[in-house]
Amino acid sequence: MITTLRLASRLLWREWRAGELYLIAGALAVAVAGVTAVGFFSNRVNRALDAQAGQLLGADLALSWDRPLPAGAGRAARALGLATAGVVQFPSMALAGGHNVLAEVKAVGDGYPLRGAVQIATAAQQPGRNVRGAPRRGTVWIDSNLQARLGLTVGSTLELGDARFSVAAIITRQPDAMIRIVNLGPRLLMNRADLPATGLTGPGARARYQLLVAGNAAAVAQFRGWAGAHRQPGQRIEGTHGQRGGTQNALQRAERFLGLAALVSMAVAAMAIGLAVRRFMQRHLDAGAVMRCVGASRRRLFALYGVQLLAIGLLASAAGCVIGIAAQLALAQLAASIVKTALPAPGWLPLAQGMISGTALLLAFALPALVGAGSVPPLRVLRRDAVRPAATSVAGYALTVALIAALVLWQAGDWKLGGYVLAGFAGVAVAGAALAALTVAALARLTASGRFTAMRYGIAGIRRRGAATLMQTVALSVGIMAILLMTLVYRDLMQAWQHNLPADAPNRFLIGVQPDQVKPIEAFFNAHRLGAVTFYPMVRGRLTAINGRQVTSADYADERAQHLIDREFNLSWADAMQAGNRIVAGHWWQPGGRGGPQFSMESGIAQTLGINVGDKLTFDVAGQPVSARVTSLRDVDWDSFNVNFFVIAPPGMLDAYPASYITSFHLAAARLPALNALIQAYPNVVAIDVGAILAQVRDVMNRVTQAVSFVFLFTLVAGVFMLYAAIAGTRDERLLDAAVMRALGARRAQILRMQWLEFALLGALAGLLAAAGATVAGSWVGARLFHLAYGGSPWLWVIGVAGGALGVALAAAPAVFAVVRTPPLATLRRLG
C-alpha cells in the first residue's frame, strides 16, 4: 500500500509537471471556488442578518402577554445568565397644544434595548446618535410622525393620561420599527417608572407586556424551552426568525440567485471536468496497458489512478477553497454594506462543503473511467484497437449521474431549484445531442455535393467524428450558454429587476383613512399636485377556522404561523388583480363578484399555514364569521412597495363591514409640507415613511447585482474551461487526420481552412443551441426569481450563432495551429 501511495504520488507529480492535469485541476478549482465563495457569502450574511434581526427585535427572544408577565419568567431567564428588560406597549392619546393623536406608547426600563440601539436626534432632520436605556424620568422621546402631528419640538410638553412630559429627543430609528409597517402608528418612548403616574395601565387597558431576553444562544434556547413549557394561553414567544425587516425579500432573492449562479458555474465546470477526466483516461489507456504489461495488477492500476485522482481532487479543491476565500473577501465588502453591520468572521462550514463537493465531483466522473482503466487489456500494447468496454460502465455512469444529482441538490439546498438546474442541463444535453445528430445527418447529404474542398472536408470531419461531435456540440453549447447567460440575459434581467423599483416607487403609506375621507383626500392630492393615488379598502379579521376546524396558534410549530394566527389579518376586496401579483394556483374570479364568496391568498402565507386552493377559511370580522373557499393563490412582489394584501375577497363580500382605506404613493422631499398639512387636516390618518427601507432595498439590489456579476465570473471561467476541454477532446484525432493529409500532399493553408471551418460550424451550431437554452433559462429565472416576463432578445441569437462560430474558432486557434505546426512524422509516430 505504501509503495502504491509513493508511486502514485510520484506519478502524480510527473503528470502535473508534464501539464496533463491542468485542465482537470483548473475546472475543479473553479467549481469549488464558486461554491465556496457563495457559501461563505451566504453564511456570513445570514449570521449577520440573524444578529441584525436581534437588533430589530431589541432582543434575542421576547415573551409577551396582554397582562403582566409572572415574575417567575424574568427569574428563570436571569437564572440562565440572560439579560432581561421589561417593556409595556399600549395605544394612548397624546395631547399637546389642543391637538390629540393616538400614539403607540412604549414604556421601557434601563436595559432597553438588549440588542441594537435607539437612534435619537434633537430634530427630525438632524443626524441621530445611538443610545441605550430609557428616557430620563419625566421625559419622552417621540418619532417624527408624532412630532409633525402635534407640532412639537425638543423641549415642548405633552400630556399622556394623567401625567405631563417634556420631549427630550426625536427618535430617528428604533428597534422593531421596520417589522410591522402597517401596524405602525406615531410612536412615543417613555420611562417605565413613570407609568403608574399616567394611570393608563389600569384594568381594561389594551397593554401588551413584554419580557426581552438576550445572551448566549444555548441559554436563549433553554429559556425558549422553559417559556414553551410554562406558556399560558395568549402568551407569545418571538424569536429573531422572520424579523429581517423590509429588505428580507430582496436578500432572499439575492441569496437564491447567488446560489443559482454558483450552481450553474459548478454544473458547467462539472461538465468540463467530465470531459477532462475522459480525455485524461483516454490518454492513459496506453499507459495502463504498458503498466499491466510490465507487471501491474488490475487492482494496482485502479489504486494508482484512484490515488492520483483523489489527490488531484483534494489539492484542486483546496486551491478552489483558497480562491473562494479570496473571492468572498471581495463579496464581503458588498455584503457588509447590504447588512449595514460588521460581518461575523467566516465559519468553517463552506470550506468543508467546498472540499467535499470538489472531491465528490471529480470522483463522480472519474469512477467509471477508473473502472475502465483498471480493465484495459494489456494486448493494447500490440493492437491499439484492443479496448473492450468495461463491464461495469453502465453502473459506473449511473453512479456518476446519481452523485452529480446528489451534489447539485445538496448545493441547491432546495429540491425544486436543484431539480430545475438538473433538468435544465439534462434538457440542454438531450436537445443538443438531438440537434447535433440531425445536423450531422443533414451535413452527410451536403458533403457529396460540396464544391469547396475545405468545406467538404470540414463537414466530413464533423460527420466522421459523429459521437465526438455530439459530445462536443453539447459541451460547447453549455459553455456558450453560460457565457450568454452571464452577459446578455443577466444584464437584461438585472435592468428589468431594478426597473421594477423605479425612482418614483412609493415611499409613503397612508393608513387609517375613513371611507368618507377617501374623496376629500384624493381631492387634496390633486390640489397639492401630489399625484394620483388609489385607495384600497381594508377590513381587519382574525383567522378562526380552516375547513370548519377551529385554529389557534398552538396548532402550529412554526413561529411565523403562530404569529399569523395570533394577529389580525388585513383583508381587502377587489374586482381585478393588482399589478405585481401572479396567480400560481387556481383562478382569479370573474368580474363583478359573479362567482360568489371566495378568497385569494398570498402563496407564501398559504404555505406557512398549510392552506391550499379549495380550503374553506373562516375569519372573525367585527365579531361576525365570514367564510369562503380559497380559489386562488398569488405570488406577490412585496419589493414593489405597492399596497398588497395577504387575503383578498371579491367585491360584495366584505363591503358591509367597517373598513378603513390604505394607499401608497411617492412623495418628493420638497412636498413634505403638503403631507404635514394633510396630517394636520386629518388627524386620524397615519403616514408612514418607508423611504429608508426603500433606499435600503434599492441598495441591496445594486449590491446584489454586483455580487452576482462577481459570482458569474466563475461561470464565465468555467465556460472557458468547458470550451477548451471540448476542443481538446478531439485534438489527437485532428492531429492524426492532418498528418495523414499533409503526408498526402495537403498544404498548410488547406488544412487550416478545413479545421477553421469545422470549428466555426460546430461553434455556430452550439451557439444556436446556447441561444435557445439561454432564452429558456432567462425566462425561467425571470419568472421564478424576479417575477419578470423575459422573452429573450434577438441579440441572443445573433451573438449566439455568430459569436459561437467566431469564439469557438478563436478558442480553437492554439489547437488548430498545433495541428499544422507539428511535423506530420512526429504525429504519425506518436499517434499512428
Partner: protein, 233 residues
C-alpha cells in the same frame, strides 16, 4: 534471481489456437501451434503480415487468452493463472520491446525506465535505471521526454526499460520496424549485446530477414500455422 534448469524449456507452446468472431463465423488467426524455446536461445518468429506473429507473441506474454492450447513460462502454466497473476509473472520474468516503443509521453526517459522497477517495489529504481540508460548510450538524455527523442533513441529507452529488471525472457515485437535501416541495425546490435550480457532468452517477431538471420533459430508462421519445417516431429 533463479534460473531455470537446462532440461526445462523457458517457453513451451502447446497446440495454441486463437479464433476471433468474424461476421457469422470464426476467423482462425493461429492454428495448433506448438514449439519449445530453451533458456538462453535467440529465436525469431517470422512470417508475412497477417500470418499471426504478433498474436502468437501476445499469447506467449499472456496479454491475450487462446481459444485452445497452453503456454508454459519457466514451467508455469500461463492460462491457469488469472490476468492479475499473469501480470505479476510478466513483472518478474518478462521484458518487452515494441515496434511503437510504448513510452509514456508524460514521463522522462529515466522515469519510463524506472516505472517497471517502481511497480515491482524496487528501492534502487533510479540508480538501476540510470545505469541501464548509460549502458544504452543515453546518459546525457535521460531527463528528456519521449517527444524530444528520435525514433532510435526512443527504442533505446524501451530496450533499457525492458532490460532494467533483468528479465529471463525478452519479447520483442518488430523492434526495428519503425526505424530506418541504420538505426535499426544499431538497435538490433544493442538488443543482442544486452541479451548476451544478461544471459536472457530472446524471442522476437520480425519480418526483417537480416534481423531474423542473427537469431539462432527461426520459426516461420504461414497463415496462422507453423511452416512445415518448424513443426515438431
Amino acid at each position: 534471481m533463479s534460473r531455470s534448469s537446462v532440461s526445462q524449456p523457458i517457453v513451451r507452446v502447446a497446440r495454441l489456437t486463437r479464433q476471433v468472431p468474424n461476421g457469422d463465423g470464426l476467423l482462425t488467426i493461429l492454428h495448433d501451434v506448438s514449439f519449445d524455446v530453451a533458456a538462453g536461445e535467440a529465436v525469431a518468429i517470422t512470417g508475412v503480415s497477417g500470418s499471426g506473429k504478433s498474436t502468437l507473441l501476445g499469447l506467449i506474454a499472456g496479454l491475450d487468452v487462446p481459444s485452445a492450447g497452453e503456454v508454459w513460462i519457466d514451467g508455469v502454466s500461463l492460462f491457469t493463472l488469472d490476468e492479475d497473476a499473469r501480470a505479476a509473472l510478466r513483472g518478474q520474468k518478462l521484458g518487452f520491446v515494441f515496434q511503437s516503443f510504448q513510452l509514456l509521453p508524460m514521463l522522462t526517459a529515466l522515469e519510463n525506465v524506472m516505472l517497471p522497477l517502481e511497480l515491482a517495489g524496487r528501492n534502487d529504481a533510479r540508480r538501476t535505471a540510470q545505469s541501464v540508460l548509460q549502458r544504452v548510450g543515453l546518459g546525457e538524455r535521460m531527463h528528456h521526454y519521449p517527444s524530444r527523442l528520435s525514433g532510435g533513441e526512443q527504442q533505446r529507452v524501451a530496450i533499457a526499460r525492458a532490460f532494467a529488471g533483468r528479465p529471463q525472457l525478452l519479447l520483442a515485437d518488430e523492434p526495428t520496424g519503425s526505424l530506418d535501416a541504420a538505426s535499426g541495425e544499431r538497435i538490433a546490435d544493442l538488443l543482442f549485446e544486452l541479451n548476451r550480457e544478461n544471459g536472457a532468452t530472446l524471442l522476437l517477431v520480425t519480418h526483417d530477414a537480416v534481423l531474423s538471420q542473427r537469431c539462432g533459430r527461426r520459426i516461420e508462421l504461414r497463415a496462422g500455422a507453423l511452416a512445415d519445417a518448424d513443426r515438431p516431429a
